[in-house]
Amino acid sequence: MRVAGFLLLLAGWAIVLSAAALLKPSAARAAFVLAGVGVEALGLVLAVRSYIAPKGDRG
């Protein structure tokens, strides 16, 4: 889950970069950038969840 999270972070960044480089200034470009950030948010959630120890196992 952790690896998948970090891969999603990279994938989201790639979407953001592609949108910036390939699309002209428009609502579509903003939407693609937001979509990329959404993918990153998903990756962050996965990475964070992989580190949340079950209660009782912490410490």
């Binding site: 960044w13 953001v16 910036a20 903003a30 950038v33 580190y51 209660k55 009782g56 410490g59």
Partner: protein
């Protein structure tokens, strides 16, 4: 830059070490008394290591606007992705010119960035691995992003090349210094795990209060001074503002910090019945962090509002990270630097006196911090931890970092272990 502006900028840069001193003192005060000397020594070693590594190779990638750089052609446009300087500041005239001031400011600010993760690793992060981690930041992650944002790199060019406002703006280093430091702090906290005794069998976190509240609150004044210098010098060098704008910058920095601390005091008063000193200090620094990005591009009222929101975000996220994510961050570094830094970057894009489309450039910068810098930082620290274990042994943690790693305590004339009074 005129000679007078150069002198003012140099004077402002000389204030930056106060920010490092303040953070070191705050991290020490928020940790246990049996690790206090270790925390201060580690801070000193981290600043030294970061400055040395940046001098040796960091500036090669970081570079400065208008100097040699590597570019690639993407869809007919040049993407400037790395500096191309010589090692050891080779070819850089250290004579008060703009590139020399840029190099000096970055050499000091990379130490500040490298200090931030120490707040998350307090009481359990060994000295040598902390220095190696600082070296990785100073030689790899910080210089790359600093070039993109501050030295005419592709993020800074998003405006001219792609019509995103003025391109990614970050006058005082909310992203380059604070978010990079805050995300590294999260990586370090994950890799180290929580302090022993932090989470009980039920999973509920125990409060481990800092050992010196006076240190923590004193450090607020020191970081304030440092931040005024950092924001002013950064705005002149990286955003090209006139020297007279420094007055606006200091006003904005002060208002943001003040409102943020007051918000933290009000929220903790409402939630716990009394204001919490350490959270108020965290709020103060969070306001400073949030002010960094837009200090030169915001009206004072907007800067105050930015600080107010930062104070609320920091106060609530400290508890959330501790309670729900199970991340033990004694210094609150993740909330103070990463959360408030991201908020500051976006507040500039939304509320600042900037052209249309600026928010998209700021969002692209934030996406780069999370999508590139964060995985790179985690991977490099995870690998280092395999070869050079970051965490002190169980015995060392019980004994305290001072005795275990340094052989002497910070307060030898005080009895600091409760166990000594316990009848067996």
């Amino acid at each position: 830059m005129t000679e007078a502006a150069g002198v003012l900028c140099f004077a402002m840069i000389l204030l930056v070490p106060f920010a490092s001193l303040g953070l070191a003192l705050m991290n020490t005060g928020l940790g246990r008394s049996r690790s206090a000397a270790h925390a201060m020594l580690t801070a000193l070693c981290i600043v030294a290591t970061a400055a040395l590594v940046f001098f040796i190779c960091g500036f090669c990638w970081a570079g400065a606007t208008g100097r040699a750089a590597h570019s690639i052609n993407i869809a007919g446009k040049l993407w400037n992705w790395s500096g191309a300087e010589a090692p050891f500041f080779g070819g850089l005239p250290l004579d008060g010119s703009t590139p020399s001031l840029v190099a000096l400011l970055q050499m000091l600010s990379v130490g500040l960035a490298a200090l931030i993760p120490l707040g998350a690793g307090t009481d359990r992060w060994r000295l040598a691995p902390a220095c190696v981690s600082a070296a990785v930041m100073a030689g790899l992650t910080y210089p790359l992003f600093a070039h993109w944002a501050w030295a005419g790199g592709w993020l800074a060019q998003l405006g001219p090349l792609y019509g995103m406002g003025r391109g990614y703006l970050d006058a005082g280093g909310a992203g380059c210094i604070q978010v990079i430091g805050g995300l590294t702090a999260l990586c370090i906290a994950w890799i180290l795990g929580p302090r022993r005794g932090k989470y009980g069998a039920s999973g509920m976190p125990a409060a481990i209060p800092g050992h010196h509240t006076v240190f923590v609150l004193l450090s607020c004044f020191l970081v304030w001074l440092g931040w005024c210098g950092l924001n002013s010098a950064g705005a002149m060098l990286f955003a090209g503002v006139a020297p007279g704008t420094c007055v606006l910058i200091v006003v904005n920095t002060t208002l943001a910090a003040g409102l943020s601390a007051l918000a933290a005091a009000a929220i903790t008063r409402a939630r716990f019945g009394r204001p919490d000193a350490s959270l108020c200090a965290n709020g103060w620094v969070g306001g400073l962090v949030a002010s960094s990005a837009g200090c030169a591009f915001m009206a004072p009222a907007v800067a105050a509002l930015t600080g107010l929101v930062a104070g609320a975000l920091v106060t609530l996220s400290v508890e959330w990270i501790d309670l729900y994510l199970g991340v033990d961050d004694p210094g609150g570094s993740i909330s103070v630097h990463a959360v408030a830094g991201v908020w500051g970057l976006m507040a500039l894009g939304i509320f600042g006196r900037v052209p249309a489309g600026q928010w998209l450039a700021q969002l692209t910068g934030v996406a780069t911090l999370f999508g590139f810098v964060f995985p790179l930082t985690y991977t490099s620290n995870w690998l280092l931890n395999r070869f050079l274990p970051y965490r002190v042994s169980q015995e060392g943690e019980w004994q305290g970092m001072d005795l275990h790693e340094l052989g002497a305590g910070a307060y030898p004339e005080f009895v600091i272990h409760r166990e000594d009074f316990t009848q067996r």
